[in-house]
Subunit: 325 residues, 2 copies
């Protein structure tokens, strides 16, 4: 069982406009509404690939009703914790002419203490519902927190997961990344910029070691077109495709987390296996127009993933030649 | 009693962004949602100035729920006709740095025949509810129609109004403007471009006469910074301010319609009085950030309105010098 938590979900609204003129007035067909948020992207990908999933999120106000309706239609098993504040909106205007997308993300409203407590209780209950059969449940904590959320929220959920024997994956950034490591998250998945920013250490391997030292077991470092790096206390493994793929990178990191969660929920712990699948699903997500989906050709991509244990010197060399075209 | 009909209402959503970069990702505070549409703007202004009003519109789906909640909070008396299709959205991104606004209007969904019939029945009932006391009710039909709406809709509502003795104001454009004149709308309020486009006649006075010939009694022609023109079968009157005002022109035409509706509902029929108030309220709307509101200084603006009966030659001269700065 994989339990995903999205602490700052959003109703994603997308409109397609022929050509966006700043300051202009445009006509568009009805926008598409989707229940969004990184934890939900993870749950969608894992559910679509047969893993038992429960997606947890808050929902409030009329936007929360629309969020709930879309999530119900998606078929992803879920539980929504009712909150007083309206679910935030995230809006995307796709310029059909240029192909680029202008995005406005609302920051979100901070639930009250009793609403956060209800979310924690739902996490506890969901992990308890997980079938045992010798397999640990996996708790995934993904995405931003609303402004004003308590510093203790994420560490508290991580400890709650560890206390009931769950494997915990956290995809977060900033001070929350260090707090997640301190609280003993099993897997952390920063990208290189997030890792450097949180640890204050420019070198990615040294930064990953700092997170391991604090209490994490595995750091999966996403490096964009350079693939991914798995760092444990015992090894450093690198995975990448021969040629980076062009496409939509939104949701690629969530697909990597989903790969990791699905394998961990099946009892697979080998960092190389996790890294290979995470790299393949991440690349397969780049081929899809929407976050929360991966391309069915992922097994071919996984076959093409090159894995090695690079020298530290090679890792520290900037890789200008691998910028995607 | 003023009954306003908004056949293609919208949930207006507005976000303020520091500086909009096309193709970029932006953070914003929670957007503001408002029940929008030209007929509702008319109803808001008339209601705020003490006129008995009932605003009629359709509402459906989760956006319709949000629309209904905001309209209820506004205090404007209203009746919403439930429809299956979701109320359309209109989104506005305000660039706080440049001060301009990028707008995307959804086209809207066409209600079914029985839903349009329910709207007509609500119009009939609302006009029947109007207190008599020798004063005719005023029916205001404002704004666009959803794509696919029956051609007979607007003429049918106009005839319905005329049959129960109401004064009918229609603010529409395209072929619907001619159809409204044919159906005997009392007052029509096109702008110069709409009039020329609908009649195929470049000269505004000749275009207005075409509408009078078809069946209208008064044409109020909005001319932007050049003020307004009232054309009846007996006179041509021009009204304007000495200096055009800078501000937000959205909703200025709706304020003019509201002025007209409020005076007509009080039994005032003099075209000069209607024109003077319409020009003042239109200018007072330009001073407000939101459509559906007018600045409380409107009586001073009305005092400053200059009214004359221009020669046709003066009207036909292009007025390059009066472009607002």
């Amino acid at each position: 069982m994989i339990v995903t938590v999205t602490p700052n979900p959003a109703l994603d609204l997308t409109w397609h406009v022929d050509r966006i003129l700043p300051g202009g007035t445009h006509r568009a067909d009805t926008g598409v509404a989707r229940a969004g948020g990184k934890g939900l992207n993870v749950a969608r990908v894992a559910h679509a690939h047969g893993a038992p999933v429960r997606a947890l999120a808050t929902a409030g106000g009329p936007t929360g009703d629309e969020f709930a309706a879309e999530l119900a239609a998606s078929g992803v098993p879920h539980e929504l914790i009712p909150v007083r504040g309206a679910t935030r909106r995230s809006i995307a205007l796709v310029d059909e002419h240029l192909g680029d997308t202008t995005i406005v993300n609302e920051r979100g409203l901070n639930p009250g203490p009793e609403e956060w407590a209800a979310l924690a209780e739902a996490v506890r209950r969901s992990l308890g519902d997980a079938p045992v059969r010798g397999r640990k449940p996996v708790l995934v904590l993904s995405g931003s927190l609303p402004p004003g959320a308590p510093d203790e929220l994420l560490p508290g959920l991580i400890r709650l997961g560890r206390n009931v024997g769950a494997t915990v994956i956290a995809d977060t950034s900033g001070p929350a990344l260090l707090a997640a490591a301190d609280a003993g998250a099993t897997v952390l998945k920063p990208n290189a910029a997030e890792l450097a920013e949180a640890t204050g250490i420019a070198d990615p391997v040294a930064g990953a070691c700092e997170l391991l030292h604090r209490g994490a077991s595995l750091v999966l470092l996403s490096r964009g077109a350079d693939g991914m790096l798995a760092v444990t206390s015992e090894e450093i493994v690198r995975a990448r495709l021969a040629e980076p793929l062009a496409g939509n990178p939104t949701g690629a990191g969530d697909a990597a987390v989903a790969a990791c969660a699905v394998l961990l929920a099946r009892g697979v712990k080998d960092p190389v296996a996790l890294l290979r699948r995470a790299t393949a699903w991440s690349a397969a997500a780049v081929l899809m127009p929407l976050a929360g989906e991966i391309h069915p050709s992922w097994p071919d991509l996984e076959s093409a993933v090159m894995v090695d244990s690079p020298s530290l010197t090679a890792l520290r060399r900037p890789s200008v030649e691998r910028t995607p075209r």
